[in-house]
Amino acid sequence: MSKRANDEKRAMGALSRRRKNMPYYFMLPVLLPLVLLFGYPLIKSCIIAFQNYKLGNPDIYFNDFENFRKLFADRDFFLILKNSLIYVIGSVAGQFFLGLGLALALKKKFPGRGIYQSIVFLPWAFSAFVVGLLFRWSFNGEYGVVNDLLLKLNIVEKGPAWLGTPGLSLLVVTIAMIWIGIPFFGIMILAALQSIPNDVFEAADIDGCGIFRKFFSITVPYIKPTIIITILLRTIWIFNSFDLIIIMTEGGPANYSQTLPSYIYTKAFSAYDFGLAGAFGLMLMLILGMYAVVFLKISNYEEAGDF
């Protein structure tokens, strides 16, 4: 083999190696910190969950399943689990249907749509913290505007203490959560709607399809991937979020609006019982993982993880 051919071959080899490594040059700066900073805490949490880990405790050892025993022995565990489910399902369902309605209403152009959109999508930019305050204030039993309106409209005789009543407090938290989340669904679904080619609808018009037929036979199949992935993501986020609850009720009254993550937070940072908090956290993750797998299976979504 001539020297030149050899050189060429070597050059090609280097080039293809470079080409092969290329994706990793792009991915590593992102993946490395993420794997380290999610991986380490996760492993550490798994270990802590089986230890008597309390902050400042000098004698830390493995205590078998003590934390998990404590978890299931917790009087309120099943109440909290129930609250979490009601809160998540209620919030996601409310956000989804209201967001879908908003997206459908925004699909067609109308004068002033730009300004209108920037107003109705605003809650997206709001912090759960401030929204929590606002709803806590509006649903205040004595000075709240909600009770005042209900009284004026003669719907109630005496306004309830919303945030101090079992059942109602969780409802108010759920309402606040729905309010924040409508824009997320609205934007995502609107975006999906706008990517449906117009001629499909025109063809359906020619065939004489009604509004409902068009909605279920064209719109829904087209936006299905978006719906699946937004619902999945949103469910996970809501399940894991608890700042709203901490701000509005701190889980009260008597844990009636407590959800798993807010309970974990209280356990971890009022008693500094990191071991028990870790056990609860693993529990929560297990539930979410099972949910994600089942949800993706049922919805027939092929591209798992492709959100």
């Binding site: 994706p23 040059y25 792009f26 991915m27 700066p29 992102v30 910190p33 993420l34 794997v35 900073l37 999610f38 380490y40 805490p41 996760l42 802590i48 209403a105 067609k108 730009g114 959109q117 920037s118 107003i119 999508f121 809650p123 997206w124 930019a125 912090s127 913290f129 401030v130 305050l133 606002l134 204030w137 004595e142 000075y143 505007v145 005042d148 309010w179 409508i182 995502m188 609107l190 975006a191 706008q194 990517s195 992935i229 993501l233 996970i236 894991n240 700042d243 701000i247 974990i264 937070y265 940072f269 990191f274 908090a277 956290g281 693993l282 929560l284 994600a292 591209e303 492709d306 959100f307």
Partner: protein, 280 residues
């Protein structure tokens, strides 16, 4: 004839629906804003709840500034949020481009990993980080928050950025390669300029995510001179007395920056997401 009536009905329904959503969003915001301009006696008058301030006052804002060193929190919030958002955008461009343009071993794994990160309860991340940070002396520093905000917001932003890249035809890049440009140069000169809206959208996501974060802030920061706005405001909520006027004033001020920003770039966000929605 029938067509025009059905169209008219459609328009009426649309107006009703749009009004409903408009009120749904505006009324709570209105309530917060006017509460912040009422005097305290007016706020806590059970007998007579007013729907417009009888006496318009700035005293809530004044007492807010008296009770809190708001400018310190503002400065802290801006520094942490801005730096985090810029770094997140940078990482999202790299990661998003890598995912959009290459096939490589472990790509599916990367996507599943991103999905998994969303499932980890934040407490499971915060507790170990808290332990590590205290050993490294990072508790009560902006670095701790910065690290936390970058890793928690990155997965969503990377994947979103990826769908923006996928919308851009590869031919555009090919032309540049033929002209002898390298990958990075092409990315910088050819690809990024045409996906301005996508970059803006990701920046806004990252900014909002960090700006509004409360929990990690309360855990990682413990002296008022390091607090961010949400952490500072939270300190106003006493167990027994809540100063609603000042709190609402603080809420208005906390929401203002992101609200203004969002109103200006909302168009790009929807535009950008429309691009991404094709893939789902």
């Amino acid at each position: 004839m029938k067509r025009t009536t059905s169209r008219r009905i459609e328009t009426v329904i649309r107006v009703i629906v749009l009004t409903f959503y408009g009120l749904l969003v505006v009324l709570p915001i209105y309530w917060m804003v006017i509460t912040s301009f009422k005097t305290n006696p007016e706020i806590v008058n059970t007998q007579h709840i007013t729907y417009f301030p009888e006496t318009f006052t700035l005293e809530n804002y004044q007492s807010l500034f008296r009770m809190l060193s708001y400018s310190t929190y503002l400065k802290n919030s801006i520094i942490v949020t801005l730096v985090s958002a810029i770094v997140i955008v940078f990482l999202s461009i790299l990661g998003g481009y890598g995912l959009a343009r290459f096939k490589f071993k472990g790509k599916g794994g990367v996507l599943i990993f991103f999905m998994l990160t969303q499932m980890i309860p934040c407490i499971l991340v915060i507790i170990p980080l808290y332990i590590v940070f205290s050993k490294m002396g990072l508790i009560n520093t902006r670095i701790a928050l910065f690290i936390y905000y970058v890793i928690t917001n990155c997965p969503f932003c990377v994947v979103t950025m990826r769908s923006f890249f996928e919308r851009i035809p590869y031919e555009l890049e090919e032309a540049a390669y033929v002209d002898g440009c390298g990958r990075l140069e092409t990315l910088w000169r050819v690809v990024l300029p045409v996906m301005f809206s996508g970059i803006v959208a990701v920046f806004v996501f990252a900014f909002i995510g960090a700006w509004n974060e409360l929990i990690a802030g309360t855990i990682f920061l413990n002296t008022p001179d390091m607090w961010t706005i949400p952490v500072g405001l939270k300190s106003l909520i006493g167990k027994y007395s809540v100063q609603w006027g000042a709190l609402m004033a603080g809420g208005v001020l906390a929401l203002l920056p992101t609200a203004i920003m969002f109103m200006f770039v909302q168009r790009y966000v929807v535009e950008g997401m429309t691009a991404g929605a094709v893939k789902g």
